[in-house]
């Protein structure tokens, strides 16, 4: 087992380093083969590990940081949660790697791209498999770093590089909270081991648990693009589409959810923390969906939908339904990767046009893409019997089953969001694939292969439901697999309740579809396109993502830059340094003034001397005679 895990990690690392250091020296085909092979090798290892998995285990690979009682070894922990995610990550990433090879066929600077892609897989697996928090943090920052460089991969366009920077810094804000949490945990328990920490929450006052939980939540907010740290994700779409699919939809952005699920046993007991997670998730889910409704850029629609869907996962964690959250995470990974990759095909075909209002009729020219995209949208919308339907519903159901007013309010919010989700999903389909074609399609051999990659994802997305079927359908694999995890066992609902809940959700999804059909099919489509150039106030507000960017620019970025200049020129150079210079000037001037005493006139010298003598004698007289 140790071998599997080690190889799983090392293969992508080796691939990444090879590509980074020697990528230019290798033939392109070989390099492409190599980087795909490493990830698929990782998948094989993950699969083998899954096959031979019996019980949770910790694997010690090597020491890392050891100082006195502080120990952060390179040790891995395998349990159902990390195992299932590792399998998913290697698989999805493997597909996306293959896709990338073709997507980036015309890119000259490919070694950098592949190196980062592979390093990302390494970091992501580290994050998932880490047994202790510092190692998790290594992966956590590692994925952030790769994401930063991949978003800004086409660095010559300033906007891309800026987007990368924004992502890096915004997530770093969350990361800082996470590290503070880690430090606090170490202060309290003297260990970083998540396994040990999870069993020790009862040792400390609830208030502290809450505080630490909130810190972790902020960390998760950054990585998983939750309100209010969500601003980076839409911009992150500046990166190449496979990157968006892999990092900003399927894997990295769910790291926050993973973290909270992993540490759930620790702060699951704190109602404040779980509520905070749930509220964050609920708000984010709604926020993302509402913004997605008004977007024009194909990838931004998907980005906001990602935000929204991760909001759902958070809701799941907040409701204590770890299985449901993980379930949704896995299924979401499939269908969101699918959607992004489909979008990539569309974008390639459309000569890098991303405005959905300028597309149309692609269902004929790109049939494979169309059907796969449709499947993905159905999953996203939660159309009954798709994977997305089951996974999302298990979260919504868990909310209702909490039976607390707060959660019931969130339940309502989640349902509204579901309706919106369905609406914007099909809005997208109608706008992109509906109508008549009005552009020349750029077909190529690469595009064909890229489309092929969509198929397995579409199948997985559609059939993802079998991973964890509801109880009335015979129960699910995940449910059993996760049964031993804390929070893994979801509240069992009576089957009737469950069926009713699912019916409501399904009905809403279909309602959304119907609404989209009314608004965007046939003639209405042309009308909407015509309207798009003069959006209403609400549409504009949603299009600008509730003006969060403007707000932050006003509140943080401008003052930061201004204060930075102020501190430098007024404070550092103006006050501190200048006062020193002035002091030096003053001392020098005093010296010159002293020097003027030596005026060159001997009479003055003798007078001064005599005066000095008189002073000394006067003093002596005063002392001896008194």
């Amino acid at each position: 087992m140790k071998l599997y895990l080690a190889i799983m990690l090392l293969l992508p690392l080796a691939g990444g380093l090879t590509s980074a250091l020697a990528g230019r020296l290798l033939p392109r085909r070989l390099l492409e083969f190599l980087i795909c092979a490493t990830v698929w090798g990782g998948f094989v290892c993950a699969a083998l590990a899954a096959a031979s998995y019996t019980a949770p285990l910790t694997v010690n690979l090597a020491p890392w940081i050891t100082a006195f009682d502080l120990g952060a070894p390179l040790s891995l922990y395998l349990d159902p949660l990390s195992l299932s995610l590792a399998v998913m990550v290697t698989f999805v990433c493997g597909l996306i790697h293959i896709y990338s090879v073709f997507y980036m066929a015309e890119e000259g600077d490919y070694p950098r791209f592949f190196a980062l892609l592979n390093l990302f897989v390494f970091a992501m697996l580290t994050l998932l498999l880490a047994e202790n928090l510092p190692l998790l943090y290594l992966g956590w920052e590692g994925v952030g770093f790769c994401s930063y460089l991949l978003i800004g991969f086409w660095y010559q366009d300033k906007a891309n590089a800026d987007a990368g920077r924004k992502a890096f810094i915004t997530t770093r804000i969350g990361d800082t909270a996470l590290v503070i949490g880690i430090a606090w945990l170490f202060q309290l328990f003297g260990t970083f081991s998540m396994v040990q920490l999870n069993g020790m929450a009862f040792l400390i006052p609830g208030g502290v648990v809450t505080a630490i939980g909130v810190l972790f939540l902020i960390g998760a907010m950054g990585k998983s693009a939750q309100v209010p740290l969500q601003v980076w994700l839409p911009d992150a779409m500046a990166g190449p589409t496979p990157v968006s699919a892999m990092i900003h939809a399927a894997t990295m952005v769910t790291a926050g959810v993973y973290l909270l699920a992993r540490m759930f046993p620790f702060f699951g007991g704190s109602a404040v923390v779980t509520s905070a997670i749930a509220v964050t998730g609920g708000i984010t889910a709604f926020y993302g969906a509402s913004c997605a409704v008004a977007q024009r850029d194909l990838k931004r629609v998907l980005a906001f939908s990602t935000i929204s869907q991760i909001g759902y996962m958070m809701l799941g964690v907040g409701a204590g339904a770890i299985t449901a959250a993980t379930f949704h995470l896995l299924v979401h990974a499939f269908f969101k990767a699918l959607l992004f990759l489909g979008a990539g095909c569309v974008i390639t075909a459309m000569h890098h046009e991303q405005d959905i209002f300028k597309m149309g009729g692609l269902r004929r020219s790109l049939p494979v893409t169309f059907w796969c995209f449709l499947a993905g949208s159905a999953c996203l919308a939660g159309i009954p019997l798709t994977g997305g339907f089951f996974s999302k519903d298990s979260i919504i159901g868990a909310l209702w089953l909490k039976g607390v007013p707060l959660y019931q309010a969130l339940y309502v919010l989640a349902l509204i969001t579901a309706l919106l989700t369905s609406f914007y999903s099909f809005r997208l389909v109608y706008l992109v694939f509906g109508g008549e074609t009005n552009a020349h399609i750029h077909g190529s051999r690469e595009l064909k292969v890229m489309e092929l990659v969509l198929v397995p994802l579409a199948l997985l997305g559609l059939c993802g439901g079998v991973l964890d079927l509801p109880g009335y359908l015979g129960g699910g694999f995940l449910g059993h697999f996760f049964a031993n995890l804390a929070g893994g066992k979801a509240a069992e609902a009576p089957q009737a309740t469950e069926i009713v809940l699912q019916a409501i959700a399904g009905a809403l999804a279909l309602a959304g579809l119907a609404a989209a059909h009314v608004a965007f099919s046939g003639k209405a489509r042309a009308k909407r396109i015509a309207e798009a150039d003069n959006p209403s106030a609400l549409t504009s507000f949603l299009f600008h993502a509730w003006h969060f960017d403007d707000l932050y620019r006003l509140l943080f970025i401008r003052p930061y830059a201004a204060l930075s200049g102020f501190l430098w020129q007024r404070m550092d150079e103006g006050v501190i340094d200048d006062s020193l210079d002035r002091l030096a000037q003053g001392v020098g001037a005093t010296g010159t003034w002293f020097g003027r005493w030596t005026a060159g006139r001997i009479s003055l010298y003798i007078v001064s001397f005599a005066a000095g003598g008189a002073a000394i004698l006067g003093y002596l007289a005063w002392v001896t005679l008194s």
Binding site: R596, A599, R601, I606, A610
Partner: protein, 102 residues
Amino acid sequence: MSIPLEHVIILASLLFAMGLGCTVAWRSNVIMMLIGIEIMLNAVMLVFVGASARWGVADGQLFALLIMALTSAEVSLALAMVVYLHRRKKTVNTDVFDSMKG
């Protein structure tokens, strides 16, 4: 001894102060300065001689004699210099010689 040493010292001090005053008051005239210095040294000699008498030893008188030698050497040196400088600037005003300062 009819005159107490204290009186001698007081007289000498006055003399010394007058000499100093002479050097200082006529400020820049080098001749007056030399005279002033001469008076100051005379005050010194007065004390030596007085103290010799008071303590009954000859050391002070010896010292006084040597001071006389010293002053004559000093004055000759000074006057030589005055002559030398007078040639340059046609003056005995020392304050004219202030090319170096600061």
